[in-house]
């Protein structure tokens, strides 16, 4: 299977190049036959890469340690699930999987557009072929997963997948993130096609709207699952550390979020045309930058892959895309003029514009902070970094401004809304949230930012409830029960109400984030029978446990947690040692409640003495609940229309 894997990977590379050539030639010579052969070449690339990936998985499953990749990332006693996920456990394999995902999206987008007479398709196909060609260039010549170890090296057993990655979250986080990243290639390709052809109407947008939301959904899910993984696996008690690799996924998420808002303005009002093209090209470049940051070791980061020459390739690739798109912008500048302009600062258009500015400011702040060491080293020769205090200080106020805007968003009408009309609609929710803010600030010790978060959350809920309540009322007057009125309302405009649900999810996540102001932690050593207390929580060490599992040894202990004398649960954290890797791995134990998490890390166990770190993390669960609602809301918004009307 090694030969098959290599051969299919090489053929795919050649075919991607051929596809690019055929599309270019077909467009130039106006030869539809060449264009359709070129598109078939892309389909073929997809099938070849599928075989190539299967070949690698096959070799992983049968423990072929002649392959350097498999010897580094798998071992005989790695559980089968993680043998499979080792496909994306290291650089070479993950880039091969990346290429497969890319080819499958390209092929699917072309397949779905095959029946439509869409002038953009040949150009989009050329872009797909170009991007695939670039990634396959890396797979074949720079980081080949089918590379054999030198013949004189015999590896009886592989090193195994890093235990940190042997976690269900880490098994699904990379593919979700990849789907999220790569999905943006589809709107990008069609946007570039629009620039090449000069067909700058809404065709490219309408061809890719669902792709965009779909990719955004996966990017969101990928980021959140990465957070959850960090939270339970890394053992420092947090879910977000403003690490460069985390930031690398957040930046395109922010620009993509701006984009999914501003396309609505173009579709409804024919405005923001240049802006949308800029945003999608930027988002695509940032997804590539994200891969680049992760893979190249550009910024010394906790999870950056080792320094390698593929960094320059990435830079060249991004350079080419930037130059080409800028050139076509200049060529098309006249055609890109919007037919309409903002009519009033109090309008839905303006609120979306403001939303975009804020999201881009956040993206810029995160990018700036992430690349600061690189810039300062280039300019001054000394690396200066900024850590979480910088990112929090900058982003919390901007984030709260965004929350405020989101709260009022449903009240803005298209074109303009009168100041009086706005005040009339906003008065009661605003008053309610102001009262909450004042009560929290005067009568409780809730810190300002948290109080503001709660007040703005109330505002968002109030405004959305009133909007939905009004809509439901209209249908109830028609004689529907309130449930069918609600279903009808949502069914009639799933995009709007799906978005409301996403907003509610976002609010819950904000509430979850705000819980961090009450985080408490304590480290200490306890003997059996002794207790540690944090706040009203008392944690007693009941018994030490030492035993072995298949590929690791375990030190563990049982701890009972009481609150005000009442037992609320048992915590069993583990400290694992993997002899083959000569590596430790802590398995934290968490009691999760809506109000707070109680999180215990076992640092060490010597005889009857356990060294532990205990953290009280309020409201964390709301982050996961909120992200779940975001996923449901997005799904409602993109659910195909026909299925729904069949139900009604």
């Amino acid at each position: 299977m090694i030969q098959i894997g290599t051969l299919t990977m090489q053929t795919a590379f050649a075919l991607a190049g051929l596809g690019l050539l055929l599309e270019a030639l077909g467009i130039w010579q106006r030869r539809n036959d060449l264009i359709s052969i070129g598109i078939r070449a892309i389909y073929a690339v997809f099938f070849l890469l599928l075989i190539s990936n299967i070949a690698l998985v096959y070799e992983l499953m049968r423990d072929n340690f002649r392959l350097e990749y498999i010897a580094s990332y798998s071992s005989k006693d790695t559980p089968p699930l993680y043998k499979f996920t080792a496909l994306w456990g290291g650089q070479a394999g993950s880039l091969l999987f990346w290429s497969l995902t890319l080819a499958s999206f390209s092929a699917a987008a072309l397949w779905m557009a095959r029946k439509r007479d869409n002038t953009l398709v040949p150009y989009a196909a050329a872009i797909f072929a170009f991007v695939i060609f670039f990634f396959l260039l890396m797979n074949n010549f720079y980081t080949n997963p089918f590379e054999l170890l030198p013949p004189d090296v015999f590896v009886p057993d592989g090193r195994g997948l890093n235990p940190l990655l042997q976690n269900i979250g880490m098994a699904i986080h990379p593919p979700l993130l990849y789907i999220g990243y790569i999905g943006f290639v589809v709107p990008f390709a069609f946007a570039m096609a629009a620039l090449f052809t000069g067909r700058l109407d809404n065709l490219w947008l309408n061809s890719t709207r669902n792709w965009t939301l779909f990719s955004w959904l996966f990017l969101t899910a990928g980021i959140v699952i990465g957070m959850a993984w960090a939270y339970v696996e890394l053992g420092w008690g947090g879910y977000w550390g403003w690490d460069p690799v985390e930031n690398a996924s957040l930046i395109p998420w922010l620009t993509a979020t701006a984009y999914i808002h501003s396309v609505i303005i173009q579709q409804k009002k024919d405005m923001f045309k240049i802006w949308n093209l800029v945003l999608i090209i930027l988002t695509f470049l940032l997804t590539i930058l994200g891969t680049f940051i992760t893979r190249s070791g550009l910024i010394s980061s906790v999870h950056a892959f080792g320094e390698s020459e593929i960094g320059y390739l990435f830079l060249k690739f991004m350079g080419i895309i930037t130059v080409v798109s800028l050139a076509f912008f200049l060529i098309n500048l006249k055609k890109l003029k919007s037919s309409r302009h903002l009519e009033s600062p109090l309008s839905r258009e303006s609120s979306f514009l403001l939303n975009n500015i804020i999201l881009l400011a956040m993206a810029f702040a995160v990018l700036y902070g992430t690349l600061l060491p690189t810039f300062t080293e280039l300019l001054h020769g000394a690396k200066i970094t900024v850590g979480p205090p910088f990112f929090n200080k900058i982003n919390i106020p901007i984030g709260l401004a965004l929350l405020a805007l989101m709260a009022y968003a449903p009240l803005f009408a298209w074109r303009r809304i009168s100041v009086n009309g706005f005040i009339r609609k906003a008065l009661i929710p605003t008053a309610a949230s102001l009262i909450l803010l004042l009560v929290l600030l005067i009568f409780t010790e809730v810190p300002f930012y948290a109080a503001l978060t709660f007040a703005l959350s109330l505002l968002t809920f109030a405004v959305i409830s009133v909007e939905i309540g009004k809509g439901v009322h209209v249908w109830m007057v028609q004689g529907l029960s309130w449930t069918s009125a609600l279903l009808t309302l949502v069914g009639r405009n799933r995009r709007r109400y799906g978005a409301f649900l996403v907003h509610v999810g976002v609010v819950l996540m904000y509430i979850g984030f705000s819980g961090a102001v009450w985080n408490e932690e304590m480290e200490g050593a306890v003997k059996v029978g002794e207790s540690l207390s944090v706040n009203e929580y008392r944690m007693t060490f009941v018994e030490p446990m030492v035993f072995n599992r298949a590929d690791h040894n375990v030190k563990s202990g049982r701890f009972i947690v009481e609150k005000a004398g009442k037992m609320i649960g048992t915590l069993i954290p583990e400290k694992r040692f993997y002899p083959k890797l000569n590596q430790y791995n802590s398995d934290v134990s968490v009691i999760t409640r809506l109000s707070r998490d109680i999180y215990l890390v076992l640092a060490d166990l010597k005889g009857e003495t356990a060294s532990v770190k205990i953290l009280i993390n309020p409201l964390v669960l709301w982050i996961w609940i909120g992200s779940g609602l975001m996923a449901i809301g997005t799904t409602i918004a993109i659910w195909p229309r026909r299925r729904q009307s069949g139900k009604e």
Partner: protein, 139 residues
Amino acid sequence: MNQKVKVAAGIIVIVMALGYWVFQGVAGNEIYYLTVSELPTRKADLTDQRVKIGGVVQTGSIHFLNPLNVEFLLAQGEASVPVKYQGTTPDMFKDESELIVEGTFDGEMIHADLLIAKCASKYETEHVHSDSTARKKEA
């Protein structure tokens, strides 16, 4: 036209305010990021500053005063600097592991409050792994 100018002016003001907000945020939060061998040459201006230093844990230098208190030497080639750290150490903290240490430099020693471990062996330079621990509460 008037409306257009107003809108443009509004956008420019907002963008400039946000830009200012981002750039000023760096002040007071900078952390110098150096290697162990660069440290002695800049001793004067870095004393009592917050620094981030990358190096390798010197073999045999790890000394646990107790499980939550450790001292070790962070080395790079010939150069090394003593580090004192209180808290749970990352899982990958061991002899020869690549480490990024963050803390205050008192001119002699680094009082670290954050250890970020990378992998030790050459095989693993391409792994995705990370490990960080003991971020201070404000982090």
